[in-house]
Symmetry: C2
Subunit: 609 residues, 2 copies
């Protein structure tokens, strides 16, 4: 006779019942609270459905958030992008939606703690710098923060839970990577030796993908194989990855004899071995969990905090990756131009909506070779929806593109030779004069950054003001960064460089790819963003130059809507940049276009002056 496992046999828990079920489970374990972050054990932006614990518990699907559950209260924290979405997605009687800057979770917890509480957290899902402030709050309140490797939420999320992803690993050939994994491993190993480290623990799947020249399919939009790795200072690697993912023909010989395949469950043992050898282990504390660090420390390893050496190597694209990026942007430009030409021909009659437009754009991209899929969920936003920075069309929100609207489309492709990310804002019919003025101010910022020239050592934070100054002079601004790093057939958001108001001490170096995306958003009316990808390149030295200079080369080849530009607001240098950019878009793309599209592009790229 078989006794059925209650949990497995049960029907999936209804959304409304999950919080109570979690509280019951916490009580069973002697806990009075629990922290539920969005992150999983890879601590990245991309979380597979099987690990979306925060969304399962609260209903909130944003890309950043943390829930704090206590016996009689619970709150959900996210940032300003998600203020509206939190309220729309969660039951606010269960979770109080809060802005994490205005009400930091630690402050909320400090006020809520009654003393002698036991607050659990899963140490696999938090970095030390995330968890330390909670520990301080609990200490001060006489409460305890309790690590729970056996996650109580996992005990109640059983029925209806999606299985973990198990996509086969794909080989990223040296012909696209531009450097063999052995060369990359030698570089990383050398950095470790130079820093006096014996090993590096990697839990960031994009670092592993870059290092081993592999890709995967475990999460949407980004070709990651979720896995961990221990890199030794002799260049050998223990790669901890599900056996079911590694049946790919040729994978073992691609990896070579210095990469040892292990099942993920052996991570603990691998860390223990480092510890018992007294190894000095490089840890990037912004990307490594408390669980990994604690296990290493308890086993006797010496933690050497520093940055993941893969980050800066991965950020600087080599010549093969740079050529791939140009080829991918050429195909992406063709798709975008076909889309914009189609839009110009059809949108004015009011029959197109956001969702059909996005589908059509993906069709155009699929016609390009080496296309693997979108690099993120397309933002296809008409009129007031454009003012929602991270808008995602749903059947309920879906709008027709109507004459007089601005239409903002932010999209990108994963091509095997490069990742793209482009935003264009176009007028459907005749634009409103105010929108045209503000589009021109955004364009002035876009051009100022595209034209920037700067000495070696300059950071992205130093350049941010260039993209904002024209808006600032009119009392306008945008509440997001100006530029993020972009991977090579990898994450559409990658570090360490960025262009932002927030200070950042990473110097821009040749080969880095960044977005250039100033914007302007008028709530309830329209949104404007002009985004192209840039690559940092060495600049020719002007006569008399004393310092080596860098500049940007714009990779994106998509026209900027001339009907939205007020030419009187561009100075001669800006006019020259725009005309030269459009001339390049035309000459690069025209040979690949059908005659109808080419005719449209000819007009769309005609000189403004």
């Amino acid at each position: 006779m078989t006794i059925l496992n209650d949990a497995v046999s049960a029907a999936p828990l209804a959304q409304a019942d999950r919080l109570d079920a979690l509280r019951d489970e916490l009580t069973r374990r002697g806990l009075t609270g629990f922290l539920i972050p969005r992150a999983d054990e890879y601590l990245g932006e991309y979380v597979p459905p099987s690990a979306q614990r925060l969304a399962w518990l609260t209903g909130f699907t944003g890309s950043a958030g943390l829930a704090v559950v206590l016996r009689d209260r619970a709150a959900l924290f996210s940032d300003g992008r998600y203020t509206l979405q939190m309220r729309a997605e969660i039951d606010t009687r269960q979770f109080e939606p809060l802005h994490q800057i205005e009400t930091p979770p630690t402050r909320w917890l400090a006020a809520a703690l009654s003393g002698e509480e036991r607050i659990g957290f899963d140490p696999r899902f938090h970095t030390p710098e995330q968890i330390d402030p909670f520990r301080a709050v609990c200490d001060r309140a006489g409460s305890l923060l309790v690590p729970c490797l056996d996650n109580p939420l996992d005990a109640i999320w059983v029925a209806g839970r999606p299985p973990p992803p198990c996509a086969p690993v794909e080989i990223h050939p040296d012909s696209l990577a531009g450097a063999s994994s052995a060369e990359k491993r030698a570089k990383v190993a050398r950095t470790l030796r130079d820093d006096g480290c014996d090993a590096l623990v990697l839990t960031a799947p994009d670092s592993i993908a870059w290092l081993l020249n592999i890709r995967g399919g475990d999460v949407d939009h980004t070709p990651l194989a979720l896995s961990c790795a221990v890199v030794a200072a002799d260049g050998t690697v223990e790669w901890l990855i599900e056996p079911a993912k590694r049946g790919t023909p040729g994978l073992v010989s691609h990896l070579g004899p210095d990469v040892h395949l292990r099942p993920p469950a052996e991570l603990g043992a691998a860390l223990d071995r480092l510890g018992s050898a007294g190894a000095r282990v490089r840890i990037d504390a912004t990307a490594t969990s408390v669980a990994v660090i604690d296990r290493l420390t308890e086993a006797g390893a010496r933690i050497e905090r520093g940055t993941d050496p893969c980050l800066s190597l991965k950020a600087c694209k080599n010549p093969v990756e740079s050529a791939g990026a140009r080829a991918a942007h050429h195909r992406d430009g063709v798709a975008m131009v076909r889309f914009l030409a189609w839009l110009a021909a059809t949108a004015a009659d009011g029959t197109i909506d956001e969702i059909t437009a996005a589908e059509r754009l993906d069709q155009f991209r699929r016609a390009g070779t080496l296309y693997r899929g979108p690099s993120f969920d397309t933002i296809s936003a008409a009129g007031p929806n454009g003012a929602i920075v991270h808008y995602h069309s749903t059947p309920a929100s879906n709008r027709r593109l109507s004459p007089g609207d601005l239409y903002l489309v932010d999209s990108g492709g994963q091509y095997r030779d490069g990742t793209t990310d482009v935003t264009r804002t176009v007028a459907i019919g005749t634009p409103d004069p105010e929108a045209r003025t503000r589009f021109t101010l955004v364009l002035k910022g876009h051009i100022a950054l595209a034209r920037a020239c700067f000495p070696v050592g300059t950071t992205g934070s130093q350049l941010d003001v260039l993209a904002r100054q024209a808006l600032w002079h009119e009392g306008l601004d945008y509440d997001h960064g100006t530029g993020h790093g972009v991977g090579s057939f990898l994450s559409v958001h990658e570090g360490p460089q960025r262009i932002s108001k927030v200070g950042n001490n990473i110097a821009l170096r040749p080969g880095m790819i960044l977005s250039n995306e100033p914007g302007y958003y008028k709530a309830g009316a329209y949104g404007i963003r002009i985004e192209s990808l840039l690559q940092v390149v060495e600049s020719p030295a002007p006569p008399g130059a004393e310092r080596p200079l860098l500049r940007f080369e714009t990779l994106t080849l998509v026209p900027i809507d001339r009907t939205l530009i007020d030419p009187n607001r561009l100075d001669p240098a800006e006019q020259a940049w725009l005309n030269a950019y459009h001339a390049r878009v035309w000459s690069d793309l025209a040979p690949a276009l059908d005659p109808t599209t080419a005719t449209w592009l000819k007009t769309a790229t005609a000189p403004l002056f």
Copy 2:
């Protein structure tokens, strides 16, 4: 019969013998090394002769430095400004001169330590963040870092040592300060209570000068009364200051009943009282010594690290201080214009040298009311001397101003109603075309910053690129910050705001005064710097503005040499700014000038176009 004290009776130690004498003293105390910073117990930029231990020991008179003395080696560390000066001033057989960025002192010490050494330091002269890395180095090497409150250098520097300064305290009347000390103390006290602190320990004399509305004369150029203070959360103050400094008539009633005067020797007892009361004490760890923090901690106080609340209050000048700054800049402008007119009339014949020019400039300033003296040592630099950023003329370096030279003069005045700091670069005779081009690039940066318009919350670091971009486009740059804060009849360099490549998270706020001083330096040839002081003001909102805007108002009223400007390199907005600035200089100053000077100024401020 009296036994003479050996040390007092001895002749002053010759420079060459000081290092050996220190080593003997260290040996007597069982130490194998000692750290000698430039700072004294006030940890500021301004050190009186009696506390210039580093200069006495090494001969080096720069404004930043640290010597590390070991038994068989010694090194002197400073920054790039002082590379040449270190070599010129010290005996390099005794001290190895090193660049503190290229060879950090901790790295040098780590390599030099042989293990089981005892390295002394005076905990009054270092902050925790300065000393912690040395402690880590000693720990790793099995050596010990030993605090020495009884400074061994003081034991050998007796004969010939100047007495500590003892200038009388001066009252800074409310009519110039714009707010009473009681009001200021109430604000600081409120901040302490809001932060849950019971007291604040101040060792920064400029904070004390601001808080108590007093000034002093203990160091050159900056009206400081060297002293310490303990501010309680009820607004009362214990002011620890030499009794001999406080005989000023009216001082006690100016301070009122809530300021309690104590001799400096009672600081330790005051800290102990805080400790035994279990007080939570606000400490600015960037401006407070290890000695103070250790004493508080040992006595039982709770250290609450944070910023000195006086800093941001002092930085934002109130309306009376702002009006004073304008009045002081008016008088300073008259002096500078009289000087430049005199220079224009006489320098071309080659009879003026750097030292006589600087003396003449001070004469013109002395003719202004409320003038108290220079706000720093005037930099009066002809030709190649201008390329030395912190140049100080000596009889040996003194140069004639000759036709074809650029002459750079960086000077300022302490007026009772405000502090000034201005740099102008002028051509003697006809300038070289390259110098004219580069002057124009520097001017473009100066204008871009002067014209900047930015939302509330913007930091100086975000704006720095505006001053550099024109130079960058030509492959040129300057290796110093773009702007520093300036006090109100107080330090010519004050924080917390600054405009710099280096990240800084202090938002610019209305009332702050900063310098705007881009430059360009061609070693062996010439130097260019154009410096005016700016004040942050609220900007009128343009139509449709959505964010509150700030901008700068230029306070300095001194023409910029038109013969050094290439008008073709200025765009229309830059031309308009320059003409409007010159028109304002003319209209504001002309009524105060003699006819000859007015005639010169009329031409010097004529529109360029």
